[in-house]
């Protein structure tokens, strides 16, 4: 039934606009990547950018906000619009509602970008108070988040309408997982909403004199870690629900894929204290509890590893791969979309290992706030997620525009370039972090650098330069495709993987929302409630704002 369904031109255009804004943000945000990497390697180019860009930190803030917050949110809401409607084979129930959400995000983006570009909000993407940005920065972020909520509500209405028409039918996997992603996001962002609306916004407007930096951190990391899963889950949707088809196989286990997504909903939120292991205002016992909960959310990722690799093995064997590992060679490495996602998954293995290290309570002391951390999250958000999104866009943009991808061979090369650059960069960052190099620091200016860091810092610069080439090759290919005047028309079939077992045979409890939602809320209350109440009851709004950049 899926093959016959086609999105309307209006819907394609709507999704396309998400990508336009997302990739635009990515291409601006990525400009600053090599500047930071070169700075680490001893070549500071920021003085030459005066007065356009004032400082390393303005660049770093733009890099973080535009890449990690804006690009992801726009791309994801766009991609989920596709997976929800295409999976359910029905148009959006209230397209105008989704349009409202989208334009709220755009207005939010502009509202955020203005103070960022004017150097009025160089607070990095974590915007820890009492460092105080211009109020429009907080307002803009709020609009982006609320806009994404509104789009999510549009998905729920669509799902509800579909459910009325299809009683007793299992929700198609790609739609099912998209809805879970959105629900998780909406629960998770309550933290940041509370932080901005009850504290930072009134404080930056001068309505209250002080902020409580510790409570703000707790609010922020309530959202901050599930934010990572909001980035990651759309990539998982593609890895589970689409990649097997692209590789010529089937989804190995539909029911475990669904279970993994439920576990992500259940466990993504109540573990934020693992970002606050070294915070002075959180009791150690709660930190340990969240460390254990973080371990448990590693489990669905282990499930994912098995199911995805097994699906790929099946695909490889269908394509004639022989022997224990011969199926890997047999995968369609000439398909840019597949290559990008396979390389993304390989890098993600190391991201996962680093992540488990970060989450390991006292082990975190070794690498907390060191260059290890950006090394780690460049393997997750900038590899697993970004490369998967690049891979997705290699079929999505032809699908939306009806134009063939410009030089697929170059797109394959692009993935490899990014992959190689990322390996050099992230490995160097991890090593230099273990040696003690701090994150968020223009190390070229630091007076305390020991000799032994220099070789690794040089590798950071080299890796950054290679990634820069990879990134703009991507932007070039995508732009060349989208804006081609005389492109060959493309007939793209949206890759949706069949499961080896009929999804209709999966247990009923894997398609019921209420128990899982109750469980999710209950677990959040247990893991966060007491500490949040403690911190809110003892709130002390004593910190005035500082502009220190």
């Amino acid at each position: 039934m899926l093959e016959n369904y086609e999105l309307s031109p209006g819907e394609k255009k709507f999704i396309g606009w998400h990508l336009v804004f997302g990739i635009l943000a990515l291409s601006i945000g990525s400009l600053f990547g090599p500047l930071q990497a070169f700075e680490h390697a001893g070549l500071d180019l920021y003085p030459y950018l005066q007065p356009l860009f004032k400082s390393y930190y303005q660049g770093l803030t733009l890099h973080g906000v535009l890449n990690a917050l804006v690009f992801t949110t726009f791309f994801i809401t766009g991609f989920l619009t596709l997976t929800v409607t295409y999976g359910l084979t029905r148009p959006l129930r209230y397209p105008k509602l989704n349009a409202v959400g989208f334009w709220m995000m755009v207005v939010g983006l502009v509202t955020t970008a203005v103070p960022l570009l004017m150097d009025e909000a160089s607070v990095l993407y974590t915007f820890y108070p009492p460092m105080q940005a211009h109020w429009s920065f907080y307002l803009g972020l709020t609009l982006v988040v609320v806009g994404s909520w509104v789009e999510g509500w549009g998905f729920y209405y669509t799902y509800y309408a579909w459910r009325q028409e299809n009683k007793g039918v299992r929700t198609p996997f790609i739609s099912f997982s998209s809805l879970i992603t959105m629900v998780m996001w909406q629960i998770a962002t309550l933290g940041i909403a509370a932080e901005i609306l009850t504290m930072l916004l009134p404080w930056s407007l001068g309505w209250i004199d002080g902020a409580d930096p510790q409570l703000a951190r707790t609010y922020f990391w309530f959202t901050g870690h599930p934010l990572v899963y909001f980035w990651l889950l759309p990539a998982y949707i593609s890895w589970y629900g689409m990649l097997p088809k692209q590789a010529g196989g089937k989804l190995f286990s539909d029911s475990l894929a669904r279970l993994a997504f439920w576990l992500f909903l259940l466990l993504s939120v109540p573990l934020g204290f693992h970002h606050q292991f070294v915070d002075p205002g959180v009791p150690a016992g709660w930190k340990f509890l969240h460390a254990i909960l973080t371990y448990s959310v590693f489990l669905p990722s282990m499930l994912t590893a098995f199911t995805v690799v097994a699906s790929l093995e099946y695909a490889g064997r269908q394509r004639g791969g022989k022997g224990l590992l011969g199926w890997i060679r047999a995968l369609p490495w000439d398909d840019p979309s597949v290559t990008a996602q396979l390389l993304a998954a390989i890098l993600f293995v190391f991201g996962g290992i680093g992540g488990l290290t970060n989450a390991s309570y006292n082990v975190n002391l070794v690498i907390h706030n060191t260059a290890w951390v950006p090394g780690h999250f460049h393997l997750t958000v900038a590899s697993a997620v970004t490369m998967s999104f690049m891979g997705i866009s290699y079929w999505l943009i032809p699908y939306l525009t009806g134009k063939k991808l410009w030089k697929p061979k170059w797109a394959v090369i692009q993935s490899w370039i990014w992959f190689v650059g990322m390996i050099i960069f992230s490995n160097a960052m991890h090593v230099v972090g273990l040696l003690g190099a701090p994150r968020r620091t223009p190390l070229g200016l630091a007076p305390y650098i020991p000799e032994e860091w220099n070789g690794h810092l040089l590798r950071v610069g080299i890796g950054g330069a290679i990634m820069f080439v990879g990134m703009y090759l991507y932007v070039f290919i995508v732009a060349k495709t989208a804006f081609a005047k005389h492109a060959e028309p493309a007939t793209v079939e949206i890759p949706v993987a069949e499961a080896m077992h009929d999804p209709q045979e999966t247990p009923d409890w894997l398609d019921r929302w209420v128990p899982w939602l109750i469980g999710t809320v209950a677990l959040i209350l247990v893991a966060y409630g007491p500490q949040l109440i403690d911190q809110i009851a003892n709130i002390s709004l004593t910190s005035p704002g500082f502009k220190v950049w």
Binding site: G316, T357, L365, V366, M500
Partner: protein, 46 residues
């Protein structure tokens, strides 16, 4: 229909997957363990 799919499934044993994942687990233990050893070597923090 269902029976047909089952039989198709029986033929496929993801042995290669196990190999790939065991390599992953080994890497995980080695890398994680090395940071853990650094932690222990640096002494007590109360």
């Amino acid at each position: 229909m269902a029976g047909h799919k089952d039989s198709e499934h029986e033929e496929f044993h993801p042995k290669g997957t196990i190999v790939v994942l065991l390599i992953f687990v080994l890497t995980l233990i080695i890398l994680w363990g090395s940071v853990y050893v650094i932690l222990l070597s640096r002494g007590v923090t109360v």
